[in-house]
């Protein structure tokens, strides 16, 4: 089972990327392969004029990475009560040029999040789940809100709160449960 991790935060010391790394350990403990995608900043802003048969390398790369993954696991911060523009831009590229061709089509996905505020990016998580559902993904229930993120990681940048770790483990297991190998059927365009 191959799980692709996507962090909505590009910052080098991002809490969400740290959260994603910790989740990756939990995926690996369940026997899954886990890789963090690191190409969000190379994506151009979505422009239908650029969405051609041979698109920008960064676009081709993220679409291939998502298609090749059995599931995708997102960690998002919250900007202005919503998801970061860069993450939305990535989902827009993945879902186009049409929903029938969406790289996210029927892809099992799950969302968690961290923020330095008290609420742990719950609105951004809800928005991202909505956007992923509209993009054709199979959105797994479950939410982990890591609030006050600056106080939730130890010196190795691992979650220091066992309760939060347990919640993340529950979501990773829920995602893997939805990602049992299926016999694909031919979907009509």
């Amino acid at each position: 089972m191959r799980v692709l991790g996507i962090s909505g935060s590009l910052r080098r010391d991002s809490h969400n990327t740290a959260l994603l790394r910790h989740a990756g350990e939990l995926f690996e403990a369940e026997g899954a392969e886990f890789t963090i995608y690191d190409g969000l900043r190379e994506l151009p802003i979505y422009d239908e004029d650029l969405d051609v048969e041979d698109p920008h390398d960064a676009v081709a790369r993220i679409r291939a990475a998502v298609r090749e993954a059995d599931a995708v696991f997102f960690a998002t911060p919250e900007y202005n009560s919503s998801i970061p523009g860069g993450l939305k831009n990535a989902v827009d590229w993945l879902s186009r040029p049409s929903l029938a061709e969406s790289a996210l089509r029927s892809k099992p996905v799950a969302v968690i999040g961290a923020s330095t505020g008290a609420f742990g990016a719950v609105w951004a998580q809800a928005e991202l789940r909505k956007v992923l559902g509209a993009s054709g993904a199979r959105v797994v229930e479950g939410e982990v809100a890591v609030g006050h993120a600056m106080d939730r990681f130890d010196e190795d940048r691992r979650l220091s709160d066992e309760s939060l770790e347990s919640q993340v483990r529950d979501v990773t297991r829920a995602l893997l449960a939805e990602t049992q190998p299926q016999q694909p059927v031919q979907l009509a365009a």
Binding site: S106, Q182, L187, A188
Partner: protein, 176 residues
């Protein structure tokens, strides 16, 4: 006056004439009604029992993106649940009216459903066979089948109704 199940529909096996039949749905959306059809379906009446199915991947509406959305996990989930199915448990007839009880399965959820409609007596068709007609309609609550997607109107009210009407206009041809 109702008749018993075995008398409600003609005895024997009757298979759907797919060219001259249709299966679809309609649902209140915003200020009107949104409709769609299933291009690939099957139905048969055998010894008083009606069975039917429709391929989710064959859903047809007027926009390819909407078709893809209807096939996604937010609606029918074509990848995991490629068919809708129905099987009757009882059929009652009163004149031209027919009432069919049974179970419908959508997205892996099975729920009881009551279908109302009209039935016509068998006629001889121009191809040397016999056929009769069923014009059926059932209303289901889509949230009972894992399909609760919605979008709010500016008023805050949901744009898409939870009640969906499934329709089948079937011509069934005598077999054997």
């Amino acid at each position: 006056m109702s008749t018993t199940e075995t008398q409600a529909v003609p005895a024997g096996t009757w298979a759907v004439d797919k060219v001259h039949s249709s299966v679809g749905f309609s649902v209140a959306y915003m200020a009107g009604t949104f409709t769609g059809t299933f291009g690939d379906f099957d139905a048969a009446v055998t010894d008083g029992r009606l069975r039917g199915s429709a391929k989710v991947a064959s859903v047809q509406v007027k926009d390819p993106n909407l078709e893809a959305h209807l096939q996604s996990p937010e609606f029918f989930d074509a990848e995991r649940h490629p068919e809708l199915t129905f099987e009757s448990s009882s059929i009652e007839r009163d004149g031209d009216e027919v009432k069919i009880d049974g179970e419908i399965t959508i997205q892996g959820h099975t729920e009881p459903v009551q279908i109302m409609g009209q039935i016509s007596d068998p006629i001889a068709d121009p191809y040397g066979g016999d056929r009769f007609g069923l014009k059926l309609e059932a209303v289901i609550a889509r949230d009972g089948f894992g399909m609760s997607w919605n979008n709010p109107l500016p008023s805050g009210e949901p744009a898409l109704s939870n009640e969906v009407t499934i329709t089948a206009d079937l011509q069934l041809s005598k077999q054997g």
